[in-house]
């Protein structure tokens, strides 16, 4: 969409049939679910990637290829598996998680973890061996060496987080299945995200509304990218 279209869109945004707070609440749910899932994924993936990157063990190539395969894991399948896990009949049934944001976070965690792990692993592996050796030679512990490598690899890690976030926030299959696309009667989203809202509007033939929500989603992704890139630029301080 070109910049010239923005002035035309602005009045359209004002007289849309959205109820008050509707768009704000679905943006909130989208961000809440995806950011939480990506944060948890990052906490899990980065140490795992560093551990795999630093270690030498038989089958390392196999582990890498498993992680890479995970990047292409279809989101609807993840949604189904999480649904079975959290459904009243499933192993986590007693926690009553079906049709909740927590279930959506679980499925997005599963979706975001492989790309974040794989790209971080590539970034960590790409850091010159000499950097690690120098850190150790200067009397650093293994942890110090790891931190130095992480600092060197920060652009790669930022890319990894963005890839994970992009996958999570733009995915519609699993959050629809485990979340149920719910709003309350007064139009405040409980588990409706931008993507499932777009799906709903398209189902109802309201393509203009769907397009505007799509524009909001793209703007959101761009903003998050800008913030993360900025964060990566200012460096990892430790």
């Amino acid at each position: 969409m070109s910049l010239a279209a923005i002035p035309e869109l602005a009045p359209a945004l004002l007289d849309l049939p959205f109820r008050e707070g509707y768009v704000r609440s679905i943006v909130f749910v989208s961000l809440y679910v995806s950011v939480t899932a990506v944060a948890l994924s990052t906490l899990f993936s980065v140490p795992v990637a560093v551990a795999i990157g630093f270690a030498d063990f038989p089958g390392k190539g196999f582990v890498k290829s498993v992680v890479n395969t995970g990047m292409g894991f279809p989101s609807v399948v993840v949604g189904l598996i999480v649904l079975f896990a959290v459904s009243n009949q499933g192993p986590l049934g007693s926690l009553d998680l079906v049709f909740t944001r927590e279930a959506m976070i679980m499925s997005q965690f599963v979706l975001a973890t492989p790309p974040i792990t794989a790209i971080t692993l590539a970034a960590v592996s790409g850091v010159d061996e000499g950097v690690r050796d120098a850190a150790r030679a200067l009397g650093g512990t293994r942890l110090d060496a790891a931190l130095v490598v992480l600092k060197e690899a920060r652009y790669g890690i930022a890319t990894a987080i963005l890839a994970g976030f992009g996958r999570a926030v733009s995915e519609v299959g699993s959050v629809l299945i485990v979340g149920g696309n719910i709003t309350s009667a007064d139009g405040i989203s409980k588990t409706r995200t931008l993507t499932t809202a777009i799906q709903l509007e398209a189902r109802q033939g309201q393509y203009e509304t769907a397009m505007i929500l799509g524009a909001v989603l793209v703007a959101l992704v761009l903003t998050v990218n800008a913030v993360v890139v900025h964060f990566g630029d200012s460096g990892v301080t430790r």
Partner: protein
């Protein structure tokens, strides 16, 4: 995998706390006017209602649910699925109440013990819609099955929901009654909701079967005409579209919120709400006709069709 899961449970605990806090904040902002002391015991609980896209997409539920939420201080989580999926969610214990429109599937659900306290709720009808030009020449045909047979005969494109929804179930019944096995290039299963199927039919100049409610509420977005009317406009009775509501059986799944489900069923079948349903209009047309309130007894609504105590298994 098990390791992941443990990490998850820990993380989820934190997540649940955070999200509950968020809900409480939203709740306070949204319903500041309501008192909290004299609320019913179910206040603050959530009712998970699985329903059909054809009910949800008309906007009826959003319109009337606010009243229920205010009355009981609860929230209704309406999940729009096909009738088949809505019943399946309840079968798995993931829904407290279901509102669907496929008597055959509802009866199976009841017979298997998953649902209790079924009530007839409301009805509208199905219509066969298609392009204004009507290439198969079915306009004004008095019989739905003849119309479908004519479409099949002419090989004109027909869009099927193909999603095990109530509308899909009705369509398959009609094909069977017409003695035609649908299939071939002209028969397209979209596997989507009613609105998407109507869009698909518009795009391709195709015929489809729609419930009147969704058709009316989307008429301005689509370019199709009603070619065979349902019983509301004097069409054949086979196109009737009755909606039923029932509670998930708490004897099968002890996690379901049976109290609230019954409160909901009592509320939605009450005279006042039935009146709101008949007063709900889109584009100046009534979408649903209430049928829960009646002077005469209708015992058939509580049990699977054709059930009698004589025929029941010992």
């Amino acid at each position: 995998m098990t390791i992941h899961r443990r990490r998850f449970v820990a993380a989820l605990g934190a997540g649940a706390v955070a999200s509950t806090a968020g809900c409480a904040r939203l709740g306070l902002g949204g319903e500041s006017g309501a008192g909290s002391d004299d609320r019913p015991a179910v206040a603050g609980e959530e009712l998970t209602l699985t329903t059909t896209t054809s009910t949800y997409d008309t906007g009826l539920l959003d319109e009337i649910h606010t009243d229920f939420e205010d009355l009981y201080g609860v929230t209704v989580d309406a999940v729009a699925q096909g009738t088949g999926a809505a019943l399946e969610s309840a079968r798995n214990g993931d829904a407290d109440a279901v509102m669907v429109h496929a008597r055959g599937l509802e009866d199976e659900f009841l017979r298997n013990g998953y649902g209790v306290n079924r009530r007839d709720l409301m009805f509208n009808d199905f219509v066969i819609v298609g392009p204004e030009s009507d290439p198969a020449g079915i306009r004004g045909t008095g019989s739905a099955t003849d119309a479908l047979a004519a479409i099949a005969e002419a090989g004109e494109t027909f869009v099927s929901r193909g999603d095990n929804s109530g509308t899909h179930a009705k369509e398959l019944t009609l094909w069977e009654a017409a003695g035609t096995e649908p299939g071939g290039d002209w028969y397209q299963e979209t596997g989507t909701g009613m609105g998407e199927a109507l869009n698909a039919a518009t795009q391709q100049g195709a015929y489809t079967l729609s419930d009147r409610g969704t058709f009316i509420s989307q008429r301005s977005e689509i370019d199709l005409a009603i070619l065979v009317q349902g019983p509301i406009e004097g069409g054949p009775e086979i196109l009737a579209n009755p909606y039923g509501v029932m509670a998930a059986n708490p004897g099968v799944h002890d996690g379901v919120n049976y109290d609230l489900a019954m409160a909901y069923i009592g509320w939605i079948t009450s005279p006042g709400v039935q009146e709101s349903i008949s007063g709900y209009e889109v584009n100046g047309e009534q979408l649903f006709f209430p049928e829960a309130v009646s002077e005469d007894p209708n015992f058939g609504q509580y049990v699977p069709e054709g059930w009698s105590s004589d025929s029941a298994d010992e």
